[in-house]
Structure formats: structure tokens, C-alpha cells
């Protein structure tokens, strides 16, 4: 199983392409996605992205795990749009959502996060004059990627602890212990970063 947005080792041309080029391509494609005029063009773009996944030899299982969460959200958003703006608009908006998330997913699946972070760090260099520390931006992104499976595991833990005690309470009964655990994780993580010289 591959986690959301985590590198999938491979040697397709997409894997081998430089991270900077992929990020630039992603940015352009995302901008292009917003400009797509109608459901047919969005559908065609989605087909192209599906083709790219196949080209990168991403197993269907992984691609599906990557896309499933956004499909649900797209369904909801599209549903709302349907009432306000009509079927065409709903299809376009939902399609664009899926399109942009799956494109971003394709880049993270085919690029080592270290390479991605390098590019982000270099890309942020011009911003250092306004006080942006590129290394820090890159690290925060990496920590966020790493935190996804950790917080997912904590969620599971809280759920199991509640089931074990027969608690079936509402949202707070679930959210409070999860928040406490997440804060404790953040605290431990901060210490570990300090011990590894991050703040020196």
C-alpha cells in the first residue's frame, strides 16, 4: 500500500524527468485546467491524465487510492453546483477538482520528496528578501506529508480505545482525545527536530 502523495519507486520517463520541470508543468497544467471551457474538454483532459498515470506505470490500485478521497469531495461540490449553476457547470467544476488533485498526485508519486523539496527550496530563494526561508518552507511541506499516516494511525487508535471502553459519544468525545494525541505528537516531533539540529 502506498500512502497518499508518497513517492512510488519506478523508472518511467516521468520518474526520470527533473523535479523542477514536473513542478513547472504541473503549475501550467493546473492553470490550464481552470480555463477549460466545457464538460467535454474536462473529460478529455481527465483521459489524458489517466493516460499519464498508465505511462508512469502507476498500478491501478495506487491510482485509485490516490483519487478516491477527492472523488467524494467532487461529488459533493458537483451536487451543490447542480442546483445553482446547472449540470454542465457542475460537471466542469467537479471534473476540474479531480483533474488538479490527480495531476498533483501524479507528480508526488513520480518524484522523490527530497527532490521536490530541493526544487521548492531553490524556487523560494528569490523570496528570501521578503523573509521567506525556502529550506523551512520545504521542511514544513515534508512534515505535512509525513504527518498524514501518523495522524491517520492516531485516529484509528482513538477509535479503538473508544470502542474498547464502549464509548459511543458524539464528536467531542472523539475530537478531544485525538487533539490531545496530535498535540503530543507535535510536541515530540519538535523535540526530535531540535535534537537533529534543525534549529541550530
Amino acid at each position: 500500500m502506498s500512502a497518499l502523495g508518497v513517492y512510488l519507486p519506478g523508472d518511467s520517463p516521468l520518474h526520470r524527468a527533473p523535479a523542477g520541470a514536473k513542478l513547472l508543468g504541473l503549475t501550467l497544467a493546473e492553470a490550464g485546467a481552470v480555463l477549460l471551457p466545457g464538460p467535454w474538454s474536462v473529460g478529455a483532459a481527465l483521459a489524458v491524465v489517466a493516460g499519464l498515470y498508465a505511462f508512469a506505470r502507476v498500478p491501478f490500485r495506487v491510482a485509485w487510492a490516490q483519487t478516491r478521497p477527492i472523488l467524494l469531495i467532487a461529488l459533493l461540490v458537483g451536487g451543490f453546483q447542480m442546483f445553482g449553476a446547472g449540470v454542465d457547470r457542475a460537471l466542469v467544476v467537479a471534473g476540474q477538482l479531480v483533474l488538479s488533485v490527480s495531476l498533483a498526485g501524479l507528480v508526488t508519486l513520480t518524484t522523490r520528496s527530497a527532490d521536490l523539496l530541493d526544487v521548492i527550496e531553490r524556487g523560494c530563494r528569490p523570496l528570501r528578501f521578503v523573509g521567506v526561508d525556502g529550506a523551512r518552507v520545504a521542511l514544513v511541506l515534508a512534515l505535512a506529508i509525513r504527518a498524514v499516516p501518523v495522524v491517520a494511525a492516531l485516529t484509528q487508535e482513538v477509535r479503538e480505545a473508544q470502542r474498547a471502553r464502549g464509548v459511543t459519544g458524539g464528536l467531542t468525545a472523539f475530537a478531544v482525545p485525538l487533539l490531545v494525541r496530535t498535540l503530543r505528537y507535535a510536541d515530540n516531533l519538535g523535540e526530535a527536530l531540535a535534537a537533529r539540529g534543525v534549529d541550530d
Binding site: 500500500m1 502506498s2 500512502a3 508518497v6 513517492y7 519507486p9 522523490r112 520528496s113 527530497a114 521542511l139 515534508a142 512534515l143 506529508i145 509525513r146 499516516p149 501518523v150 494511525a153 505528537y185 515530540n188 516531533l189 523535540e191 526530535a192 527536530l193 531540535a194 535534537a195 537533529r196 539540529g197 541550530d200
Partner: protein, 224 residues
């Protein structure tokens, strides 16, 4: 050498360590004591993660109050929770992260990482995402990421507490094999077999400082 002179520590107005004066030179030093007796605070003093409110801690003559950065390069620290110590998403990246400011080239870093992963039996997982590892493997990864920096001393705060028996012995065997000096805080008393010296903490003081068998007896009597 780690040296503590009249060290005391308080969080706010709550004193949790007092009158600690020690010279630690042995290859293997154990630290035991009841929950809340100050062991973790003591361990964090040794690499400057915590700076004492009174007295001073020096490592090879460097004061933790002013030379934290140099000291953390010499004194590696392994925490209890393996998950919180792994900061980058995949195994090899996390180990490489330790060398980001080492001045080594990309190729040199890659070679060192490959070597280290082999030594810790993690080669097969180099590109895997860290959450797929078992608890013991995660702790080995955390240790790999520390030891690749080649510290001369390793401080471990209950590194086996969250692990099952198999994983715990995997980690403790590795600790036993290290050339580094080790300061080990633990509730797993059998890990202290063969240690040179064991400190027993009670309510913020060192109440016994002796060979393992004497110290463990003292601790058992305290707990009755």
C-alpha cells in the same frame, strides 16, 4: 566526558531535579527510577535540549547553555516514540535529512545513506514510506538517522518502551553493539546487564550510583 555541577532544574516553580553532580565517562550508563522522578529531564540536559535552571552541564568542556549546537552534534538523542522521530516521508530520505548541513556532496550523502541502511537491515525499505515499517524497524530507522551523524555519545530515553518483545530485543541488541558511549534511560531493567554504572533517580535526586546489581536492588527496595 559529560560533567554536571550542582545541577538543578525547575519547570516554572516546580523543582524536578536538584543537587546533581556527576562525571559520566563510562561506556554504558543506565538510568532508572520511578515515573516522574526526573529521568527524562536529566537525559535532555545531556544534549542541551533542556538547559538547567541552576548549575551547569558540560560535554567535553562545552557548556550546554552556550554551545548547544556543537553539543547536539556530539550527543545523539533517541526518543521513546519512533513515529515522532521520523521527519521525512520515506526511509532513505529521513536518514539523508541528518546530513543536509554536512557539506557532503549529493553522491557522498547517497553512498553514506546506502551504507547506513545496510548496517541497520533497512536496505529493502530505502524507498518505502516510513509508516510501513514495524515499530522496531521505525526505532532502528530513528537510530540510523542519529548514528549517521557519528555522535560520540548516544542518549536514549526509553527506546524500547513502546515495542513488543521481539522489536525491543532487536533495538537493545543494536544498542549493545554500538562503539558509541551510551546513556540509557529505561524501565526494562534486564537491558542493564553488563552496564558499567547505573544511576537511580528518586524525586529529582540521584539516590544510588553503583554497579547494575546494587543499583537495581536499591530501586526495587524503593518501589516497595
Amino acid at each position: 566526558m559529560i560533567r554536571l555541577d550542582d545541577v538543578g532544574h525547575a519547570y516554572g516553580d516546580r523543582t524536578v531535579l536538584r543537587d546533581v553532580s556527576l562525571r559520566l565517562t563510562e561506556a554504558r550508563v543506565g538510568v532508572i527510577g520511578a515515573n516522574g522522578s526526573g529521568k527524562s529531564t536529566f537525559a535532555r540536559l545531556l544534549n542541551g535540549l533542556v538547559v538547567p535552571t541552576t548549575g551547569r552541564v558540560t560535554v567535553d568542556g562545552l557548556d550546554t547553555r552556550t554551545k548547544g549546537r556543537e553539543i547536539r552534534r556530539r550527543v545523539g538523542f533517541c526518543f521513546t516514540n519512533p513515529d515522532a522521530q521520523i521527519v521525512l516521508p520515506t526511509v532513505a530520505e529521513d536518514v539523508a535529512f541528518s546530513l543536509r548541513r554536512s557539506g557532503l556532496s549529493r553522491a557522498e550523502i547517497a553512498a553514506k545513506v546506502t551504507d547506513t541502511l545496510r548496517r541497520f537491515d533497512l536496505s529493502d525499505f530505502a524507498d518505502a514510506s516510513a509508516h510501513l515499517l514495524s515499530g522496531g524497524q521505525k526505532q532502528l530507522l530513528a537510530l540510523a538517522a542519529i548514528l549517521i551523524m557519528e555522535p560520540s555519545i548516544l542518549v536514549c530515553d526509553e527506546p524500547t518502551t513502546l515495542l513488543d518483545l521481539r522489536n525491543a530485543s532487536m533495538v537493545s541488541e543494536l544498542l549493545a553493539s554500538l562503539p558509541q558511549r551510551v546513556v540509557l534511560v529505561t524501565h526494562h531493567l534486564h537491558l542493564l546487564d553488563g552496564f558499567d554504572r547505573v544511576l537511580v533517580f528518586d524525586q529529582g535526586r540521584v539516590v544510588c550510583d553503583a554497579a547494575p546489581s546494587t543499583a537495581i536492588d536499591h530501586y526495587r527496595r524503593l518501589m516497595r
